[in-house]
């Protein structure tokens, strides 16, 4: 029995807190004991003998390899680590699908990373699901995890919330990684959103060099769905022969008249384009030897496979 700190034997005269036994505090000795021998498998995901792992991935811009780490608690109590690698190939944004066999047991965890330390995020999308052997890849019965990954940014099951391809901040792109194709002489430039992508355009810019043929050129920008225009934006500038003037259309900016050989015009705010949509110049009076060049675009891109 503990000594009472406040009893008569305390001759110091100090004021002490009451001893803990007076409050029946039970923190010193746990009342609960845990079973460490007949443990229920620490997973809600039973993997049957016919189940397989479906891995799907795609990468923007460059080839990458998806790394998938899986742990399964086998019926005999052995935890089996499994490691899969899925190479996306160099084809832009191609969708790669792999089916991998599993073993009966309880799925403890799944983690996806990638080999490439691509700067930023949203360049490689991955999803991991469970399917029954008889099912096709479109009949997964359990989505485990889905999201953008890279070498330093993993996703996993069971902790990650599954994402869609169009979730998140998008990947900042410039002309260097999502090109506006060069235009031929006497032709307007055309940028088409690639298949399996969604693009938000912040600005698009090009240099029009006019030939000696005397004629007034009137550049405008057209945004369409591949056929039907839904925005036609003039530059408010007339360019004569033998001049080089840079045109920039940017999100929400005002029209600015020609100044230092530069023209500024607006784009619709938060302009989001789906695959096949186009941003193209439309130069009334363009001459055979006129040339659009120095084409560049700034925005964000997401994968978007329907």
């Amino acid at each position: 029995m503990k000594q009472d700190a406040n009893d008569k034997k305390n001759i110091s005269g100090g004021v002490f807190a009451p001893s803990t036994d007076r409050f029946h505090v039970r923190s010193a000795t746990a009342s609960v004991s845990f079973d460490m021998e007949d443990i229920i498998p620490p997973s809600a995901e039973y993997v049957g003998v016919d189940d397989q792992l479906l891995i799907q991935t795609n990468a923007l811009f460059s080839a990458n390899t998806l790394l998938v780490q899986v742990r399964i608690l086998r019926p005999d109590g052995i935890i089996v680590p499994l490691h899969y690698e899925v190479f996306t190939g160099a084809t832009f944004n191609a969708f790669v699908t792999q089916l991998q066999p599993l073993m009966e047991g309880f799925l403890l965890s799944v983690v996806c990373t990638a080999t490439s330390p691509t700067v930023g995020q949203n360049t490689m999308f991955a999803s991991v699901s469970l399917v029954r052997q008889a099912n096709t890849f479109r009949q997964q019965y359990r989505l485990l995890c889905a999201g953008y990954v890279q070498q330093l940014i993993p996703i996993g099951w069971p902790e990650s919330s599954p994402q869609r391809e169009t979730d998140g901040p998008g990947y900042p792109m410039s002309n260097g990684n999502l090109n506006v194709p060069a235009a031929g002489a006497g032709a307007d430039f055309v940028y088409t959103v690639p298949a399996g992508c969604r693009v938000r355009v912040t600005s698009i810019s090009g240099l029009l060099t006019t030939a000696a043929a005397v004629f007034n050129r009137l550049p405008s920008l057209i945004i369409d769905d591949g056929a039907t225009p839904y925005a036609i934006i003039p530059s408010n500038n007339t360019q004569a022969a033998s001049l080089a003037e840079q045109y920039t259309w940017a999100d929400s900016t005002p029209f600015a008249a020609l100044f230092d050989n530069k023209v500024l015009g607006p784009l619709p705010s938060q302009l989001i384009l789906q695959q096949g949509h186009r941003v193209r110049s439309n130069t009334t009076g363009i001459q055979a030897a006129d040339q659009w060049s120095n084409l560049r675009m700034l925005g964000h891109v997401w994968s978007e496979h329907n």
């Binding site: 919330s161 002309n175 912040t202 900016t253």
Partner: protein, 302 residues
Amino acid sequence: MVRAQLSDQKNISGGVFAPTEEAFKLTVKPQGVRFLNRAVQPPSQVYVEAEDDLAVSVASSVTGEAVTFNYRLLRFDGEIIEGQFVVRPANNRSVTKYSESLAEGFLLSMSCQATAATTRGQTFVRVSLTSPAFQNSLPSYMLMADYVTVQMAPAHPNGRVLAPSEGPGWVRGFAVANPAPGFAISQAVPANARWLLKAFNATMVTDATAGNRTEELIVTVGGRVAFQASAIVVQAPSKNVLYSGAPLSLVAPLDTALNYFPLAPSLTLLGGDLVGTTALGGGPADQWSAITLAVEEWLDNV
């Protein structure tokens, strides 16, 4: 047996103590459910093998950061082990890694808290389990990944697994060092940072060299010029003018000590991209000063 009252005659200290629990007898309806308190299943889904490590990575842009990690592990013998360690990342957004060896058991919880970061976008933490079964310290179980501050303590369970560029960032004024006289501004986005450029502010004092100056704002992304816009009006010699850049509908300023750059919203820049100026005309002693960029910043690639 009735316990002794704290305020009875034996209490010679004279102190006033809380009343005993008998004074608060509660009468409740008896429970219909009874719970195990012996041989209870471990209250965790996270089984830790004997060779597993708790692996953390921390990156920060603030000086003097120290992130304290706390965890509780139900050891194989039924004892709850409490662990704590501190990781001190550099303020250059580089990743600092640390691994803590764990005993076999069940991870009950972990959480972390910062000592310097006060908002999202400053200090990012990622926590996982690693197993030697997977080479190169690849994670075997993701526990959480999120920003941490002095008040917000992300945790497992009930935490989130996020990328550092998700969610709100750090809205800040970034002070740019003055360039030498006669030189333009050129500020690189720091490595492992992502900026949303919101506004630009700087003062240009022109020398007596004859001729008007046309100042231009220039944004370079991935080594290529991605946005370039001229100021609304020219600046004459021997003038002191404050330039502002913002997504505005611009008109020529009535105050000749002011000038504007049009600036597109949603200009998102990665590490190494440049925000700066260029000029048409100028003098050897033209001087930019008091340069501030308003940005929303995230850590990136960490």
